[in-house]
């Protein structure tokens, strides 16, 4: 495998030519915040939390979608970037109704954890407080748009791994919304296999198992690599 060398935070490192910047950064044990990225799913490059400074480039690069290149010089935690990341989290917290105290995912939420990690102790922007519904029509799961950060993980897992494409994004801008089928109650969609993958990959309490109450919902996404490795690399065989 051919390899490139690059400098991350003043340290010379090597990475496979096919790697993304994020791969290379995480290989070094550096913790860069991510939200829409999830190993196993295609990259969306939407949350912008993983932006890094690339020397010689006028723009910041979202590391999850930027390929490594020979001689790149990267900084992952400059003062400026940390400030931007905080602002991004504040924007996310302000745009929907993230009431952690009464959320099923309280204590296990990626957004909540990121906010604490990045030192977001308050949101300086106006809370928009949109009037969003909850969809509890599914027999096993609930979709709560109030907690959604529009990362699109659920859409991607539904399309790429489950192959159902029940979920997609409708509308645009601040009015974007995850929908099932023809924006119909989730439970009435015939393409949904109720596999629950979307629920497991959701970083917040926007998708959860019915019956869970505040702080009860925990998620795991190990299954993703399990399934994908099994499919692509044919690792798991029983005969």
């Amino acid at each position: 495998m051919s390899v490139v060398t690059l400098t991350i935070n003043d340290k010379l490192v090597s990475a496979p030519r096919t790697a993304t910047l994020l791969d290379a950064i995480q290989d070094q044990g550096i913790d860069v915040p991510t939200l829409c990225h999830l190993k196993g799913l295609s990259e969306r490059g939407g949350c912008r939390l993983c932006v890094v400074e690339v020397e010689g480039s006028p723009r910041l690069a979202a590391s999850c979608v930027t390929p490594v290149a020979e001689g790149m010089v990267i900084r992952t935690h400059t003062e400026k970037i940390i400030k931007y990341r905080r602002q991004m989290i504040e924007l996310l917290l302000a745009e929907r109704n993230h009431v952690c105290a009464v959320c099923v995912q309280n204590g296990n939420c990626e957004l909540q954890t990121l906010a604490a990690k990045l030192g977001v102790t308050s949101v300086r922007y106006d809370y928009i407080c949109p009037d969003l519904p909850m969809d509890a029509s599914h027999e096993r799961f609930v979709m709560d748009h109030n907690r959604c950060v529009l990362c699109g993980r659920c859409n991607r897992v539904c399309d790429e791994v489950e192959g159902a494409h029940t979920l997609d994004m409708a509308g645009r801008g601040i009015h974007s919304k995850v929908i099932a089928g023809m924006n119909q109650p989730w439970g009435t969609s015939r393409s949904c296999t109720s596999c629950g993958k979307c629920v497991q990959v959701c970083p917040t309490g926007a998708l959860f198992k019915k019956g869970s109450t505040a702080a009860e919902m925990k998620k795991q996404h190990d299954f993703l690599l399990w399934i994908l490795d099994g499919r692509e690399k044919k690792i798991w065989r029983w005969s």
Partner: protein, 189 residues
Amino acid sequence: MPEASPKKDAGNGKPAADPRYKGIDRVLKRQQYKQDALIEVLTAAQEAFGYLPEEVMIYIARQLKLPFSWVYGVATFYHFFSLKPQGKHNAIVCLGTACYVGRANEIVDAISKEFNVDPGQTTPDGELTLTTTRCLGCCGLAPVVVFENQVLGKESPDTTVDKIRSVLSGAAPAATGATRVEQEEPLPA
């Protein structure tokens, strides 16, 4: 919100003899049922029906073999598509920069107040839809309003409201210098 009935997933949703499906079928055929023609097909549907009824979107999804949520997602992304029926008359106020600088928002407010309809909405009696748009490219004539498919230039709140009122009350549209905008001709199959 569509009602919670699973039956709409079944069947192909096309009433046996609704002539309005013909326009859709023609575009489908011309585009050889290619999935990337979705926007063209939705445009044809919007023209035929005046909006995109759910069963029409289901029909299109089935014809193009696309997931429902995909079709719905595309239909709601673009401002041209409306999922609600439009009013019998449509007043479009341009809110491009030149029109804005010419205080076109006062025209919107005036119509809104006079006919009790919010921008983007239709009056309850289905008579008038008030829409705003971003630049019709007639900046030299700002502020511009399109009503009954006529581009009206150099409007003011009073003149616009008067024109709309006279049409809604059944009188003929007030004679202005304006002429009908040419409509897009149906493309040959």
